[in-house]
Amino acid sequence: MTVLIVTNEEDVTADMVVVHLNASGVPVVRLDPADLTGGVALSGEYVHGAFRGHLSSAGRLVSINGLRSIWMRRPGAAAARAATPSAWLTEEAGQALYGMLRGCDVRWMNHPDAARRARYKPWQLRLAQRCGLPVPATLITSFPQAAREFAERYPDLVVKPVSGTHPQDPPRAVPTSRVAPDADFSAVALGPTLLQRRVDKRADIRVTVVGDQLLAAAKVTTAAEAEVDVRFATSDAPWYPVEVAPRVAEAVRGYMREAELAYGAFDFVEDADGTWWFLECNQSGQFGFIEVDTGQPISLSIAEWLARPATGEQPHANGASAKVP
C-alpha cells in the first residue's frame, strides 16, 4: 500500500517526511498536479459496478485502490505546466484527479473539503470560541463607522488579511500590523477588514497537531521587537519545546475533531499571565522550521500517520475510523 504525496517539487519540507517513509520501507508516490498531461498521467474506469484507477508520476505507476493515505501538501494548479495550459484544462484535470481520489477509501491529511473550509479565518475564530480557546476581540467589517467604534473600545489594534492571502500584482505581503492610533478607517469601505485587539505577547506559540499528537513550541518576544507578526520578526531567538496545558490540549483536539483535520498548525500568542490566545489554525502550516529549531519529531509523526496500514474501515476526513455497518 502506497502513500501518495501531492505537492510541488521544490517542497523540501515534504522531503523531510519522504526520508522517514523511505527508511521504513513504505512505498511513496509523489506528484504535482501541475505536471498533469506531462510527467503525471491518470486513468480510471467505472465498469460493472467497480472502479479501477491508476496514476503515474515520473515513471512510477500506482493503483488508486492501492493507496493507504494521501498527504495534500503544496500542490500546484492542475495542468499548470501542460504544453498548452488553460483555465479549462486546469478545471478538467483537477476534476479528474481529485474526483477519482475523493472516491477511494483512504485517509487524507487533510481531506480537500475539510481543508477548504478550514481556511476560512472567520470560521476558525468561531470554532475556536466554541471549543473554549480564548480569542482576542475581533471585528471583520466593511463599515468604517464600525471600525472607528471598535477602535474606541480597543485602542490598540492589529490589522491582518481576512483570507491570509497576499496580493500578487505586484507581489506584496500583508503582515499582521499594528494600527496607528490616529488611523483613518475610511478605506475599510473598500474591502472587508479584520481588526483584532493586540495581545501584549511575551511569546509566540505554535502547536503542531498530527493525528492525536500535539507538539508545542514557543519563541520569546524580545522587548526590542517591533514586528507584531512573528513571520517578520527580526529576532533570531530560537523556537523551543513547551508543554501544552491539559485544558488547551482538550480544546485543540476538539477543534481538530470539529474541523475534521488530521494535521493543523495552531498559532497562539502568550500574554503576561500565561494565557494562550488563539490567532489561527493553518491546516497545512509549515513545520520544518519548528523541527529544525526544537528537534521535535514532527516529520516522523507525519510519516507514521501516513504509513498506518489501511484498516478496511470507513474513513472520516480526518483519518478517524468507524466500523462499516
Binding site: E9, V12, D15, R74, V174, F185, A265, Q286, F289, V292
Partner: protein, 63 residues
C-alpha cells in the same frame, strides 16, 4: 484609495533556493550539488528559510 489592509502591505520576500538543491525524480527528493539529501542538512534549511512560515509567497498561503 485602496482597501485598508493594503496600507500595511510591503514587497514580498523572494526565496532564492534554486541554486542550492535540485529535485531528483528518481529519489523523489531534493538533493544538494554534492548528492546529499537537502532535507538532512538542517543548517542549510535554517539558512535558506525554505521550511519557514512566510508571507507573500505566491503559492504558500498556508503558513
Amino acid at each position: 484609495m485602496q482597501p485598508f489592509a493594503l496600507n500595511y502591505a510591503r514587497p514580498a520576500a523572494e526565496l532564492e533556493v534554486t541554486a542550492a538543491y535540485v529535485y531528483d525524480s528518481g529519489l523523489q527528493l531534493n538533493v544538494l550539488r554534492d548528492g546529499r539529501i537537502a532535507a538532512g542538512d538542517h543548517a542549510l534549511l535554517r539558512e535558506l528559510g525554505t521550511t519557514t512560515s512566510t508571507a507573500g509567497s505566491k503559492t504558500h498561503f498556508d503558513d
